[in-house]
Amino acid sequence: MTIRDLIRDYVLADATVASLIGTRIYPDQLPQKVTYPAAVILSVDIVRPNPLRGVASLASARVQFDVYASPGNGQSSRARADAAGTAIRNRLDGQAPTLSDTSVSPAVGVNAWVRFDLETENAEPELDGGLSRHTADYFVQYQTRTGAY
């Protein structure tokens, strides 16, 4: 798993996020026939400070969530995008979670500290009845595991 995968799992475990977007957080791109709202998660960059010997045991990633929403349930696309984006922010900002790497057995806890960086909005009016976008970046500082993540 990567730090992106760990953060994705942590966000999806939140009940409010799940109620708004289910499990529809995807790396790189949305599926071609996606149900909205849905989000793309990206590792914009990962910085690993160079130690004098060995591999870095701490790293810092910038992780980005792009939420897309169409109008639905009597709500505007903007309201739906904002709601899902805000739920993700509430889950992450200022938190110090122990992320769970379930790719190894037994699962390994990864200590992390997350803080909000910036938020932007945009629109794709020509697609699917008009989409609203809510983008937010987060810094994730975390403990690596013998060079993993």
């Binding site: 790189d28 791109q29 949305l30 026939k33 709500q75 505007s76 903007r78 794709e124």
Partner: protein
């Protein structure tokens, strides 16, 4: 005599009209769609393409529906069409054919399976 051939209008489509309200929180317009009229049309297939937008591959099909002229012509602002294939077509433009004989409704929709 009409320039349109009734026999060519062999596709049934549904014209929908939007009722526009305002989202109290954001001020954004919200459209709710109701069936306005079912009409017969001729389908003129146009182009198909895939685009990368909104972080996804978007397949689009474009074409036109030829219909008899209507006393109240549809407009791109408040009308859309449920096409003969079940797709929801965005109305891109309305062009008069002849002198009030027919209308060409230029439309586009997502091309993924319905």
């Amino acid at each position: 005599m009409s320039g349109l051939s009734a026999g060519a209008l062999d596709r049934e489509i549904t014209l929908q009209t939007a009722t526009v309200s305002t989202d109290d929180t954001t001020g954004q317009e919200v459209q709710s769609w109701d069936d306005e009229e079912t009409i017969w049309a001729q389908w003129l297939p146009g182009s198909a393409r895939e685009l990368w937008q909104a972080r996804q591959i978007d397949a689009t099909i474009e074409g036109g529906y030829v219909v008899y002229d209507m006393s109240s012509r549809p407009t791109p602002e408040v009308n859309r069409i449920i096409g003969h294939d079940g797709r929801t077509y965005d109305l891109k433009g309305v062009t008069e054919m002849g002198r009030g004989e027919g209308l060409l409704l230029a439309v586009a929709a997502r091309a993924e399976a319905v």
